[in-house]
């Protein structure tokens, strides 16, 4: 159980970023007209940040099942890269793949990839489950709070709102420092430049997916030379 609790502890930083985002999702969805139960169902089943906001807009516009499914799948297409990259670090198969895959969000993947090499190989699966469960719980709690109390708390102190808006950039920067940036500078520089350039012409979820591919390809090309 120790690796599980260690993963749960590692999810605290993700949780600090997730609660305010999930809170604003809960608030947005309920204020747009969805019931609190449907709002919580979306967070419980989809568990994928930006695409949940788009799904709310699609549901309210009366989109068909196929239109909504196509949009959400396209937005989350980058997740196909995460499983194979994570699998290369898992040397045991005690935990069923669905349990390891369900919570593989951007932030969970980023945290796992920056820290997993420091975990003993036999303990990595348990650590990943703890990490995902912690992040998932924070996501659900944030959504529930936003759906229940969002309208009364939306005018909180400006310093708090500004601070919460910077949790994810601070988290990603801390994770970048943790991921041995000296060894991966080609991947980091190419992905960063590509993301900035592509975001000017593409929606951010497409820019993200393409930038990841560019960074990984540049890294692999550099390793072969």
């Amino acid at each position: 159980m120790r690796p599980f609790f260690s993963g749960l502890g590692a999810s605290l930083a993700i949780g600090a970023g997730y609660v305010p985002i999930a809170f604003s999702f809960g608030l947005t969805a309920v204020e747009a007209g969805l019931t609190p139960a449907t709002t919580l169902l979306i967070s419980a089943i989809v568990f994928a940040g930006a695409s949940q906001f788009v799904l709310v807009a699609l549901l309210l516009s009366g989109a068909s099942l196929w239109a909504a499914l196509g949009t959400v799948v396209l937005m989350n297409a980058r997740h196909i890269f995460y499983g194979p990259a994570l699998a290369t670090h898992l040397h045991t198969a005690h935990v069923p793949a669905p349990l390891l895959a369900f919570g593989l969000t951007d932030e969970v993947f980023a945290t796992a990839m920056s820290r997993i090499d420091r975990i003993e190989p036999s303990r990595r699966e348990g650590w990943c489950v703890g990490l995902q469960l912690g992040a998932y719980t924070c996501w659900l709690v944030g959504t529930a709070l936003g759906a229940a109390f969002g309208s009364s708390l939306r005018h909180g102190p400006a310093a708090l709102r500004d601070g919460l808006s910077f949790v994810l950039p601070a988290l990603f920067f801390a994770l970048l420092l943790e991921s041995n940036p000296g060894r991966h500078r080609v991947a980091i520089a190419s992905a960063g430049i590509a993301a900035a350039a592509l975001s000017a012409v593409l929606p951010s979820y497409h820019a993200l997916a393409i930038a990841i591919v560019i960074g990984a390809v540049c890294h692999a090309a550099g390793e072969q030379r």
Binding site: L12, A16, G17, T38, I42, I45, F47, L55, A68, L69, V72, N76, A77, I80, F81, Y82, G83, P84, A85, T88, A93, A97, P98, A101, F102, L104, A110, T111, M113, S114, R115, A159, D162, G163, L164, F166, L168, A170, L171, F172, A174, L175, L176, L177, E178, S179, V186, S190, A191, G192, A194, A195, A196, S199, A211, I214, G215, A216, A220, E223
Partner: protein, 114 residues
Amino acid sequence: MSHTGWIVVACGLGTFLLRLIPLWQARRRRGGHAALAARQRRLSGIGPAAIAALLTLSLWTPMAQDPQWTRIAVAALALLIVWTIKRTRGGIALPTLAGALAYGLVLHYLNTPG
């Protein structure tokens, strides 16, 4: 179940399968030590590339929509605080929270009249 409920379930299932199938296939294709090492080398850039792209977009998108030098300078200062605390204390949670706190407080101080 309502039509809305079916759409939510379908979108959840679609997202789950995007995460599950590649992981499941990668585990089945495990192969020998040499094959695993080769695959690890090929895929080792994905993690840092994803983190760099996520960091760039989380900083770039709001700054591009509302470019204010004050916000950019305060963001740079907050990242410097993350870097300093990461180097001196280590970990992820403490540098993250310190950076976010610094960003909120400094911005609030600069925006307070008088």
